[in-house]
Subunit: 441 residues, 2 copies
């Protein structure tokens, strides 16, 4: 179909409903460069203001999928993935994928890099010496056939329309738009060739969605469009009013994953992983009840099968060290500073976004796409929301790189002060908010 791009922009601007043909022609024109970027961004901004109905968002997602190559599996084993909207200390994928794969549900996971103040699975995996995230689609398929899981970065032919639209949204203030977020997430997930998807929608001060209302709106859009595209979908709204687990950074987070894969690790991290795994197992028809699925997941963490699967994946993707046996090969900076509580009381607030941003400035994240990440820097919290703490006692340990601090004009003392400022301590213990807020199917 030939369209007049100006007319399509005008119709969206005026709040009219676009046809599937119009959306397909616009996306394919944008992806092939036939429609110039200056028209694409005007369209994105018009969509920001006018939104899209379910049928339009579904057409947009389909058109984006069609812009590239889709992963095809020939076997009949269930293929279930998880997507998180991202938060500080969210390392769940590294534990969850091997756990679920160990229970005979394939997990083909196309992951991303860190974004803004939140980290990315690919960057965390690269803390492991030799781990290759840049694999081709064919290798991805054969690794899943062999091990039941693989984690790869987006290749050039994998949903190229999303790459273009995402890059343009990032520089035109059109990121925060539910239909565009929905299409971006689901196009990549459907292109993985999965049959079911569990969404972890983070809600709270450290997440992109600050309120439960915004999170629910996104969850409903994802479930509706995912279902329209033939996926079995569930969205779990989870709390992100503080970092997940105790470790924030790259090597330190992988270390925490290894602990959790051995049945230990922080309670919140283990609980959320078990919950998401249970939904994946139900979608993969390995259990008909969430309660039974939770028990299966806990067992897999206890009996070492999840950990063994993680080791299999690392070996298969080129790791030259055995992090399971030799966790000390994960480089953590020897330069530390202890952050002390400035008063006695209970931790009442942790500004995850501030911690994420501080980590970026310490070299543990990117300020521009071309930056390289220092995997050795990070934080280990000694207190979380509700913890009682005495003045002068350690709140956290910071692992820093003195070289990077010099270029950023930061002193260890200044980081410690900034870190402490992200914690509020109050005289009364606040009621803890639940980790799992809601499930939307």
């Amino acid at each position: 179909m030939t369209i007049n791009p100006v007319e399509v922009i005008r119709r969206k601007r005026d709040g009219l409903r676009l046809s599937t043909d119009e959306i397909e022609a616009f996306v394919s024109g944008a992806a092939t460069g036939l429609i110039p970027e200056y028209q694409t961004t005007a369209f994105l901004m018009a969509t920001y203001f006018q939104g899209m109905v379910l049928e339009e968002t579904t057409a947009l997602t389909r058109a984006m999928i069609a812009s590239g190559r889709q992963v095809k599996f020939t076997d009949s084993r269930p293929k279930i993935d998880k997507h998180s909207t991202g938060g500080v200390g969210d390392k769940v994928s590294l534990i969850l994928a091997p756990l679920v794969a160990a229970l005979d549900v394939d997990v083909p996971m196309v992951s991303g890099r860190g974004l803004g103040h939140t980290g990315g699975t690919l960057d965390k995996l690269e803390s492991i010496t030799g781990f290759r995230v840049h694999i081709k689609i064919d290798e991805f398929v054969s690794l899943i056939a062999k091990n039941g899981l693989a984690m790869m970065g987006q290749t050039a032919d994998f949903v190229p329309a999303d790459k273009l639209l995402y890059a343009l949204r990032d520089v035109t203030a059109t990121v925060e738009c539910i239909p565009l977020i929905t299409a971006s997430i689901l196009s990549k997930k459907v292109a993985e060739g999965i049959s079911g998807l569990v969404l972890d929608i983070k809600v709270g001060s450290g997440a992109f969605m600050k309120t439960q209302k915004a999170g629910e709106k996104l969850a409903k859009s994802l479930v509706a469009v995912g279902t329209a595209l033939g996926l079995r979908v569930r969205a779990v709204l989870t709390d992100m009013n503080q970092p997940l687990g105790l470790a924030v950074g790259h090597s330190v987070e992988v270390l925490e994953c290894l602990e959790t894969l051995q049945g230990r690790g922080p309670t919140d991290l283990r609980d959320i992983t078990v919950e998401l795994a249970a939904h994946m197992l139900v979608l993969g028809d390995k259990s008909s009840s969430i309660a039974a699925a939770r028990a299966m997941a806990r067992k897999s963490l206890q009996d070492g099968t999840a950990l063994a699967k993680f080791g299999d994946m690392c070996r298969a993707q080129g790791a030259t060290v055995n992090v399971v046996r030799n966790p000390e090969t994960l480089l953590v900076s020897p330069h530390t500073v202890i952050v002390q509580a400035t008063k006695t009381g209970y931790v009442s607030k942790i500004d995850g976004q501030a911690l994420g941003t501080l980590l970026v400035r310490m070299g543990g994240g990117r300020q521009k796409t071309s930056d390289t990440i220092d995997h050795s820097v990070g934080f280990r919290l000694h207190a979380k929301l509700g913890s009682s703490i005495e003045k002068g006692k350690p709140l956290a340990t910071i692992y820093f790189n003195p070289e990077k601090l010099r270029t950023e004009d930061l002193t260890p003392d200044a980081i410690a002060r900034e870190f402490a400022a992200a914690f509020s301590i109050s005289g009364t213990k606040a009621k803890a908010s639940g980790l799992i807020k809601k499930v939307i199917e």
Copy 2:
């Protein structure tokens, strides 16, 4: 000032008020190519939705003026211009500018080309063999010093930011936006070095502003921002529910201007010209009352001084023929078709936009920027709103180019039918709507 363009887009998107510094930096960045077009168009669409307050529109206009070279006059003679928002058959500038200049008010007129279904002053002037509209700013200034008037096209260094923004708005459905229209019009007028401006805001079916309400909103914005920029400004809302005068096209319109410059010509064309001239004379301090100024203007049409000034301008700008003495040098196609009334009654509606669009397809306008205009084609109406007409009697004469009709797959009969379809004839005579609707100062 260094700005983050994404932040400026986001703030406008969120309906926040931008500072003068932010607007200046954004416009200068866009004009110099520092800010890519894909960010500029996202900004334009955000502005379409959120609008701008007076101070923002004023800052935008100032920033656009600053992007190029401004005309500077060293003498103290009044410099007053007129701008029309454009309509079908609107040839007023060609009569008005020499008329006002003949009464000792300088008219430095930077004009445009035809746009959509409406014609442009530059294109009409080019019906006159040899007339040069592409003159440099220095020549423009010296011609005004000599004759009191000159008409030129936009040069490359004349408000380049408007050229860029206009071209981008045209292809991103962001034309219909009052702050952007205001800045586009006023930046070019202020850069002419004028002290006063009369705006002819066309309202009706043949105009860009279809309703008086929309016209008034634009008029108020233009008057407020023009005043903030130090201009004496008046806006006159005039009727555009039918073509102005009887001629529509290029050579035929110049011929009608020559008649009007001799005190004859259609009443509506003469009346509107006299009205706009009167306001220009008052702004130029040549008269303290509109009534007295009208009389001065009528006299200048009667006594031949306006016509002589038109001749001076043509000679000064390179005309190789004397159209005043030899109007037959204006080429009008000898191929004609007479449109006959399909029933008896009164003309109750004339769709000017349909006539303008038909003229474009006959070669008398551009479908794309690179098209050349056939000055010899056009229409001469024999009936206007309220005229009584008998079935079979001529409604209009169409001057066509058979060559162009062949490429457009149009027959003379088909044009005549299309033309007739733009006229409604009813049994009762409707009350005529006034030509001058409102003056806003």
